[in-house]
Amino acid sequence: MEKEFFIERYRKLGWEFKDVMPGKAIRVNTLKISNTQLVGRLMELEFEVSKIPFLRNGFLVQELTFSIGAITEFLLGYYYTQEAASQRASEVLNPKPADLVLDMAAAPGGKTTHLAQLMKNRGVIVALDKNVNRLIALKNNIERMGVSNVIAFNMNSRDVARLGIKFDKILLDAPCAGNFTQEEDWFGKREIEDIRGIARMQRKLLEAAWSVLKDGGELVYSTCSLEPEENEENVQWFEKRVRAKLVMMERMWPSEYNQGFFIAKFRKENRGENGTRI
């Protein structure tokens, strides 16, 4: 598609296109170290560090001497290099230490390890991914970050009902079309039909998630796409389809802090099959 096509639809959604590139972000692993302690250690190594205002443990780092992904503090699991907007998704789900949580597209583990951190390594996180090679990366990150409350399965999230259990909270960070800050010539590589196809796949994942959410439970749906088919349109469809109660919806446009991102949170307030309201 032409770049102008996308820019025009962003304008209609309320954003004037800016060709921004977000800074490099990290998330402090408070299972192992405090924000203050880590910032001190990084500054000793001459990193420039600044707090990301909308995150609890997120910081932007500017590399001057060393690469942030290859220093002792990284290998000790004191932080995860994680894009700022994607840190928002776990914070919005806000899992508690006693919760049984499902992470539907878990590997390589950025959000899974973040959920564990928010749960203080208590409760249980069931993590799913269909790609076994990516699960190896998940295992390495769990080991590095000192996470101990995860059980992971190699399976397609669309089959999650086969697990036979229901969850208090679910994170569906869905596979998506991505956005222009992640990939060179993103605009030239995307067709609207491809985006619609991805949106259909995401709807199947949303339905699968809803089928294993407990009554009173909460589901966070997120994408790193800016396209309405994958975001607001899927939310509208889902609200009608299962009568999900939309608790919040947030669209993050690319900025110096973050890439493009979309988050919606639903609550299951109904009982019975297929969302029949009582």
Binding site: L75, I136, A137, K139, R144, V150, I151
Partner: protein, 168 residues
């Protein structure tokens, strides 16, 4: 499960984990809480991982995880502290020269193994003692052979993990 216990016994005779929480998946060993085991039993499907990875057995070797070394750290006095310049060399897989050692604690004897810590007391890995550390050694003499270090996280990404090297 014996391999993990044998490995730990090289550092300490004290219990470093509750053996009833050990969980095995193929050659990998994990430490799983009762809650995790209950979920695993309810799902009745082979997990890819559960709880804390402790390590894996391959042929006659046991390859410990970093969390296991951290657990051992809580239960052993045998440790070698290394200085800042030596830290990164060690993480890159190098052996330790005499001049890189700040201090050591516990019963450290030639032929034995010890945890290797940085100046802050953080676990970087473990190694085999090549020289009696109580005796004077030349500054550039190798006194600790690197067996495993946290740089393995980077090597795994590039397919150069110590595990693969040892299998050759």
């Amino acid at each position: 499960m014996e391999r993990v216990s044998d490995f730990v016994s090289q550092f300490t005779r004290r219990e470093v984990f509750d053996k009833t929480e050990l969980y095995r998946i193929d050659e990998k060993v994990f430490l799983a809480s009762r809650k995790l085991m209950d979920i695993a039993a309810a799902i009745n499907r082979k997990p890819f991982l559960i709880g804390t990875p402790l390590g894996k057995s391959k042929d006659c070797y046991f390859f410990p995880s970093i969390p296991l070394l951290n657990m051992i750290r809580q239960r052993t006095a045998c440790s070698i502290w290394i200085n800042k310049p030596t830290e990164w060399l060690y993480i890159c897989g190098r052996d330790i020269f005499s001049k890189g050692i700040i201090r050591f604690t516990g019963h450290i004897e030639r032929g034995g193994i010890s945890l290797v810590l940085n100046q802050y007391g953080e676990v970087l890995g473990f190694g085999k003692i090549k020289k009696n550390l109580r005796h004077k050694a030349e500054p550039e003499e190798v006194v600790v052979e690197n067996i495993f270090d946290i740089g393995d996280f980077l090597r795994r990404e590039s397919g150069r993990s110590r595990l693969k090297q040892r299998r050759k």
